[in-house]
């Protein structure tokens, strides 16, 4: 299996669940912005959930499948089409050799994940396949995909052989065949244009003036165009400290809401630096990372405060569903 990039789209990179274990060396996490969507795409084609997949941003690429391929699309609805016909997301799809996947105008969300059965045959750098653009390592030659790139694939997992064969037998008038089931809606949050994002108070929450604390929870913040895989720059009411205070650089993480002196918050995303020196006002909960990763530029975010036990309860419930899903899929693949 191999795929060829006919046009790269805005930003198409190979990602996985992150380059874990090297943050103490200043090496950023990287990995999918919407890790849950990537994991689900992988599971739908029989890959380990942390396998490498494509992260497709807003304006999608055009991809030629040079051989038959079992794929799944998850995350944002960027209007995917194969050979010009709409293709369904959230399920295994068999694409015939010579078919072309393309995308239209974004419908909902910002990032689509494309997993192929067997994943891509690329080297692991420091334990991960994720593209780290700034250091030029990982993914495909350490960079975003470009026109003409040909990415080889690995053999699919034996577990998907039955579903592969049955989809190959199905008529495919438009060059592809889909299964007649889809991933249940309970496995992934319902995307909305202007989401409510739940967050915890950050370590320096008490440093902020009471009216700024209040404004943060009560007023919407819009996502500016100066937002990327490193962080989202938000625009909203000014957030001020009670009094000027210097913070020593310390660790930050995915979802940390930090506030530089000008008072407009930045939410750190997958390519965030490992340490930061701005006061950390809040921390987005892991269970809402998908909603956060899928916000489109210009959209409004409303924060909602919850506490740590609630946040961890939601996180554990999500992981429990993922385990459940693995059992369901192992049965589905047999038919």
């Amino acid at each position: 299996m191999s795929i060829k990039i006919l046009s790269p789209g805005l930003l198409t990179t190979i990602q996985d669940t992150g380059r874990i274990g090297h943050r103490k060396e200043g090496i950023i996490l990287s990995g999918a912005m919407d890790s849950l969507a990537l994991r689900l795409a992988n599971l739908l084609v029989g890959n380990p959930e942390q396998a490498a997949a494509l992260e497709i941003t807003l304006t999608g690429p055009k991809i030629l499948f040079q051989e038959n391929c079992l794929l799944a699309l998850t995350g944002a609805n960027l209007n995917p089409k194969i050979n010009g016909c709409p293709v369904k997301m959230w399920r295994p799809v068999m694409v015939r050799a010579g078919s072309i996947l393309a995308f239209g105008k974004p419908v909902l969300g910002s990032r689509t994940y494309l997993a192929v059965a067997g994943s891509f045959h690329i080297p692991k750098i420091l334990g991960s396949y994720a593209t780290y653009l700034k250091a030029g390592i990982g993914g495909f030659n350490g960079r975003a995909l470009q026109t003409g790139d040909s990415i080889p694939g690995n053999w699919p997992a034996p577990a998907v052989a039955p579903i592969w064969r049955s989809l190959e037998k199905k008529p495919a008038p438009n060059g592809f065949a889909e299964v007649n089931w889809r991933l249940g809606s309970s496995f992934y949050p319902t995307l909305v244009p202007n989401p409510v994002i739940r967050a915890l108070k950050g370590p320096e929450y008490e440093w902020f003036a009471p009216d700024s604390q209040k404004a943060f929870w009560e007023l919407p913040f819009s996502l500016t165009n100066q937002s990327d895989r490193m962080g989202y720059r938000l625009k909203g009411p000014a957030l001020n400290l009670l009094k000027e205070k210097e913070l020593l650089s310390s660790a930050v993480t995915f979802g940390t809401v930090q506030v530089p002196a000008q008072g407009q918050p930045i939410v750190l995303m997958a390519d965030h630096q490992t340490t930061g020196g701005y006061p950390r006002l809040a921390q987005v909960i892991t269970a809402d990372f998908s909603l956060l990763a899928q916000v489109q530029p210009g959209a409004k975010i409303q924060y909602k405060e919850i506490n740590l036990p609630e946040a961890q309860g939601l996180l554990l419930a999500q992981e429990k569903r993922m385990n459940h899903l693995k059992n369901i899929l192992s049965l589905k693949f047999k038919t």
Binding site: H22, R23, I27
Partner: protein, 242 residues
């Protein structure tokens, strides 16, 4: 003499990380506790431990809440805090384990250090005196951050402190050694930046094909050693063969 553990704060950083804070000021004494704790955690990681990031006064521990909770049986945060408290008890600062000494060869001045003369003028010194002061110190690596392998160093003489450039350079070559205010540092990757550049090291601070990829680790004690252009070329050649 047994040193007493300063008051330690344990602060959640979201639902999958926790900050263990040993103080609020930059000091080698506080950092010794940071290092001792980080070493202890490295030796005795708990089930669900993901990784940790030591900084000036803190060690942040990232954990997998699902694994820590034993698939939902226990409260993950309470479990992690219990583990941290267990490791904090009987913690001794790292005086037993001396910091690892690392020598960084630096070719000062010329094309490699275009701001050496400016730093000298600013501090009413000769370039040779700037080199002697910079290479005469020992620098503690407090943390690695900002960029892969970038060390936050403590211990530079105030006699060579120089403000950042008013207009940052669009590219600073990898290996550049610079001064920004009272700080000195080494650029591991070629990036834009406003530091005053006084020299360059031929060593690769970051090499993704090496394990660990970062030449320096928090807690190392480094010393800059002046070298000639010829020696720079020699070492550079060797680094590339590596």
């Amino acid at each position: 003499m047994k040193k007493k553990l300063p008051p330690v704060q344990i602060i959640p950083l979201g639902d999958a990380a926790v900050i263990v804070q040993f103080g609020e000021i930059i000091s080698p004494a506080i950092h010794a506790w940071v290092k001792a704790f980080a070493e202890k955690i490295a030796q005795h990681p708990f089930s669900g431990f993901v990784e940790m990031v030591p900084a000036y006064t803190t060690v942040t521990i990232h954990y997998n809440a699902w694994v820590v909770s034993q698939e939902g049986k226990y409260n993950p945060y309470d479990e992690v805090v219990g583990f941290i408290q267990h490791q904090l008890a009987n913690l001794t600062p790292g005086h037993k384990n001396k910091p690892r000494p690392v020598e960084i060869p630096v070719c000062y001045g010329g094309d490699f250090g275009p701001d050496l003369d400016f730093v000298a003028d600013h501090n009413h010194l000769t370039p040779a005196e700037v080199i002697a002061l910079h290479a005469g110190g020992h620098y503690l690596v407090y943390m690695i951050g900002f960029a892969p392998g970038f060390p936050y160093l403590g211990g530079m003489s105030n006699k060579i402190a120089t403000p950042r450039k008013k207009t940052p350079r669009t590219t600073i070559p990898a290996g550049s050694v610079g001064i920004a205010g009272t700080q000195t540092g080494i650029y591991p990757l070629s990036t834009p930046g406003g530091w005053q550049l006084i020299g360059r090291t031929p060593l690769a601070l970051f090499n993704p094909d090496r394990e660990p990829a970062s030449l320096l680790q928090a807690g190392d004690l480094i010393k800059f050693v002046p070298i000639t252009v010829a020696r720079y070329a020699e070492i550079k050649q060797r680094e590339n063969e590596y």
